[in-house]
Symmetry: C2
Subunit: 495 residues, 2 copies
Amino acid sequence: MEKNICSFREMIKEKRMIDSMLALLQWDLETQTPRGGYKLLSEMIGELSLKSYNLTTSEKFLKIIQKLKKGEDKLDEVIKKEIELLEEEISKIKVIPPEEYKAYSELTAKAQGIWEIAREKNDFESFAPVLEQIFNYNKKLIEYRGEKGDVYSTILNDYEKGMDAKKLDVFFKELKKEIVPLLKEIKEKDRNFSDKLNFKVGKIEQKKFSKEILKYIGFDLDRGVLSESAHPFTLTVDKNDVRLTTRYFEELPFSSIYSTIHEGGHGIYEQNIADDIKDTLLADGASMGIHESQSRFYENVIGRSREFWYGILNKSKSKYGMLENLTLDEIYKGVNEVSPSLIRVEADELTYSLHIMIRYEIEKGVLSGEYLIKDLPKIWNEKMKEYLGVIPKNDSEGILQDVHWSCGLIGYFPSYALGNVYSIQILRAMKKEINIEGALERGELKEIKRWLEEKIHRYGKLKTPKELMVSITGEELNPDYYIEYLKEKYRKIYD
Amino acid sequence: MEKNICSFREMIKEKRMIDSMLALLQWDLETQTPRGGYKLLSEMIGELSLKSYNLTTSEKFLKIIQKLKKGEDKLDEVIKKEIELLEEEISKIKVIPPEEYKAYSELTAKAQGIWEIAREKNDFESFAPVLEQIFNYNKKLIEYRGEKGDVYSTILNDYEKGMDAKKLDVFFKELKKEIVPLLKEIKEKDRNFSDKLNFKVGKIEQKKFSKEILKYIGFDLDRGVLSESAHPFTLTVDKNDVRLTTRYFEELPFSSIYSTIHEGGHGIYEQNIADDIKDTLLADGASMGIHESQSRFYENVIGRSREFWYGILNKSKSKYGMLENLTLDEIYKGVNEVSPSLIRVEADELTYSLHIMIRYEIEKGVLSGEYLIKDLPKIWNEKMKEYLGVIPKNDSEGILQDVHWSCGLIGYFPSYALGNVYSIQILRAMKKEINIEGALERGELKEIKRWLEEKIHRYGKLKTPKELMVSITGEELNPDYYIEYLKEKYRKIYD
């Protein structure tokens, strides 16, 4: 038995090393690879993905798993969970022919370069064929599994166990019913809180401030990196090497702040997974939705609170030149201004989930065959008009704005909305145990990080999203609190 | 036969892909890995190096080579050369036990982090044990080969075929005899040409200018990257993805310019290797010395000429804010000021090779057992005083200044001096065919690049350093021209 456990650990180590290498290549591709290098890097990613596939589906691995399962009662909960996750993964990918698996990895690696150029040149047509291939592959890869039910629900369940299109339909219906009219109400008031925040700040100062903010919220820069990319993201090599990106607009200094805090929330999660499970398959977020709950928690619940800014201004205003001429109230209202925006990652808290709703409807429509790829720019613009009341001038600020689809992440967007919902449930639970406002006002964010670490981060994948939520809040996903929270917060600000 | 060639190409492709991945990991390690990530990245590098080792020394590979050699008359010159290089490489590494090979790769990967911290903290003691291990490994790896002659000559010959300590002794003796007194003469004149160049320029402007300069000299930024690191270097993923670093000092704007031009020279070489040999083992510089000849050619022969600056000022002075208040003569004399410096990469053209001489003498001394690692700071400082007349205030600006040894590059430094020597021989040959001054004055550096591409770059490793030099200049390495050139140029400037 011990020998088998040893072999198992060896193979997991190998698998994790390949995944870490893939993460590094991906990081390179998205932050600095020159155009000339896309091809070779895509090939490398394809090669390594194939290696990972071959290892995961190898007879040798399967045999060890079988042997371990025979002595299951002697296994600890970590290894049991690893086996469970592995079996799930194997059952999903084993049905895919290896060449297809590799081709898909290469396609998505290549697609990012194509997307980037398409976005730069505002040329949806050049991206459309690749996007079509990606949607088709996603469909095909699910079909190989021969599962029942609709394809989209299967994909959603992959990202968030227990999720399906029906549950999301209910949530988005409620959202549409409550938030779209509230948004109209607020728009009519025609306030311009954020004008005061849109002054020019040089990139170097913004960079410095972003790093300060990361430290302030508890991200450890000795075990992490902050870089730049067209679309901010977080990527983990391992818990001691967690990489974030942000982006800087000289005329919108608060944009980089919130990108940074958002990715910082992801990063803090990854950095605080327990050392016990560091080298296991559990060293990852519980789900995409739970991951997003952490980034949204830091970005909105923490970062858009009055107390957070009070703490910063109070503690060290002089350090941050860019804040010097702002009052607390100007910052608070400015960063919470509701202003339907074209770009999701720039969206305010109230309208954010409406952006997700659009992606959700489009993904559903394309997968069901209702929407054609070529029509997406038009469909996008129509939905933007209907829900948010704004229309993109071009596709770069419309359908082409996000990197996700080019990475193959179809069905990922709803996680962002789930993250919002979870984050408010978590807030309610934390409030019962911690004086959050006080901690923020004193600038002591460690207390908050420790609570999250204790209740969520350290577990990695050991608990499912549902188990986590039940253990923290006493109930499963419940969108009502989120919608309530939005209504209350924004009615107050716009009263 | 065709089948064998096909298998051979497949294996070369695999080998090159591993090497490209290693290059990317190395790039990451030196430009951005956070401290927490050193360990895992070092492990990955060890893992991949082992893989490369296993592949190169595999029975399968050896068999294919044997089969190909049987039909040697049917092979083209490229594949013949590849086999020759491979057999050389295999004979060198096959004698090393694989675990030792891996351990050494891991050691040098780890050592860079240790060096970086030691340099930052001015703490030679913390680096000394690792440095000792590296020297010992280098010795041991050579001893496994059981070759005759002294270890240092074998190492030198690895970097530069045909080179040995005897030849270098002759060169450095001549250098010491001619240049050390000339330097004293110049120092007594006590001029301060460079004062005018040491004004403050922000990092962002320097960055912009560095990229402009790269384009200007012919480096293709669509197939390359310019980044930052403590010690500037060039690294090739493949010819379409060539990566350079530089470093910026706000008070010394010309420092980054010359680092950039130097690495740009390396980069141009790599980018212009012929497409025919792009995916072969020949897609690399002919030797370290030839590589350095290209960087030194661009840096000194081109970049420190009056005509180069005339061309830039004339063409687009307004574009480069930092040049606005300088005259041509101020720039020319400023960038050619002889001022014995503590730092090699900041050294002027005249004293540069004296820095190499110190490294040369120390490497020779350590390998022969004459010098102990613990005494190196003292020895370093004494030699600096004797040859250059300056003494480092601390080890960070003394023995710890360079990354090379921590990468395992013992015996590499002399390549820099050889590069200088070659560059002047190349200059003499080019002058016979091209009006270099005219091209520089007109800002048309393409002509120069094309000549170098035609005579040197495109061949990659197809020709040996000796073959290249003979075909271009009609003779082998000849240090006399270099010493003559230095004497003439600097007597004139300081007349």
